[in-house]
């Protein structure tokens, strides 16, 4: 499984990527939405993990952009705080999971696998 981690907290995503590598998951990381879009254009990620609130573009906006050219990727949102409206908006837009920081790595791995499986079942073009 190939994963892209997107969060403006560099130390968070770099440590998370190393921890995922220990668990056999190859993870790249970037710190803003623009870089995420560029990376996703060149690499067919199975799952993209997005912070909801980032400088420049929100996680939701980045997901919408990436979905246009990577329609079969799964999306997982990471957030410090979430409201019912945020969660509903993300899920309605196609995010598989909404996870709260900080979280246990085993839970993240479990959700990444589930998101990748769900993404494989997506019909083409959705």
């Amino acid at each position: 499984m190939r994963v892209l981690l997107v969060d403006d907290e560099k130390e968070l995503v770099s440590a998370m990527a190393e921890r995922l590598a220990f668990r056999g998951i190859e993870a790249d990381w970037v710190t803003d939405g623009r870089q995420a879009v560029e990376k996703a254009k060149s690499t067919p990620y199975d799952v993209i993990v997005l912070d909801v609130k980032m400088p420049g573009a929100s996680g939701h906006a980045v997901m919408e952009t990436i979905k246009r050219f990577l329609p079969r990727a799964g999306f997982v949102f990471l957030t410090g705080h979430t409201s019912v409206e945020d969660k509903a908006r993300g899920e309605a837009a196609g995010a598989a999971f909404y996870l709260m920081k900080p979280l246990k790595i085993d839970i993240l791995v479990e959700k990444l696998k589930a998101a990748a499986e769900a993404a494989k079942e997506k019909p083409h073009g959705t």
């Binding site: 907290e9 968070l12 220990f22 420049g56 900080p102 790595i105």
Partner: protein
């Protein structure tokens, strides 16, 4: 909405925005510490299975952990100072310190709007006898208008200056479009300007938004 209700609502909204923003930042620090401590644990597990520990990597991770603890300490200190800004309806406020506090409290929110805010050192230092919380709130209402009326990627400078009778704080922007707050924001802005006995000026050509208020007794 009556002006008193508008002031109360604006005051509570501001307290909520800042508290939510600061607690969000603390959550981020906790999340980073969670991952770094988890990585320590993963390295120990790998060492038990025969992979040698790298002392340089451990030292680097330990240093990052210390940085995050310092960061959290700074966030909590700022939040504490902000909470104490409501202690008295009129207190001596060092405007330079107030601008530094304001800039730190709102940095992340400005970054989300793709706006960079810096503070210019005022010389000489200027102190004002005023409602500390009310002044922070007026600046925030001003900042919200600045976010809406500058180009993305803009750099905005916070400044303060004073003379014998009055003090002025405000924003300098490369280009500031004419301010057109929605009716609710305008009511918040006008009611707090009146409460603080302050006036505002945003002459479009100068790219500045200024709030002037009496120096008060200091």
């Amino acid at each position: 909405m009556e002006p008193n209700d508008a002031r109360l609502r604006a005051g509570l909204t501001f307290f909520g925005r800042i508290t939510a923003n600061m607690t969000h930042e603390i959550k981020n620090v906790l999340a980073v510490i969670n991952e770094i401590s988890g990585l320590f644990s993963d390295l120990c597990t790998a060492a038990e299975r025969g992979r040698p520990l790298d002392p340089a990597q451990l030292a680097r991770l330990s240093g990052k952990m210390c940085e995050q603890i310092q960061r959290a300490d700074g966030v909590v200190k700022r939040l504490n100072r902000f909470a104490h800004s409501v202690d008295s309806p009129c207190q001596a406020v060092d405007l330079q310190e107030m601008l530094e506090l304001f800039s730190n409290l709102t940095r992340r929110l400005s970054e989300q709007k793709s706006v960079t805010v810096t503070v210019r050192t005022s010389d000489p230092a200027c102190t004002c006898g005023t409602d500390h919380y009310g002044l922070l709130l007026l600046l925030f209402l001003g900042l919200e208008m600045v976010w809406e009326n500058v180009e993305k990627g803009s750099s905005v400078t916070l400044f303060a200056r004073g003379d014998k009778d009055s003090a002025t704080v405000g924003f300098e922007c490369p280009v500031l479009r004419p301010l057109a707050p929605n009716p609710e924001k305008k009511l918040f802005w006008d009611s707090w300007l009146a409460k603080m006995n302050a006036t505002a000026a945003a002459p479009g050509k100068s790219g500045a938004l200024e709030i002037t208020l009496p120096r008060g007794l200091v």
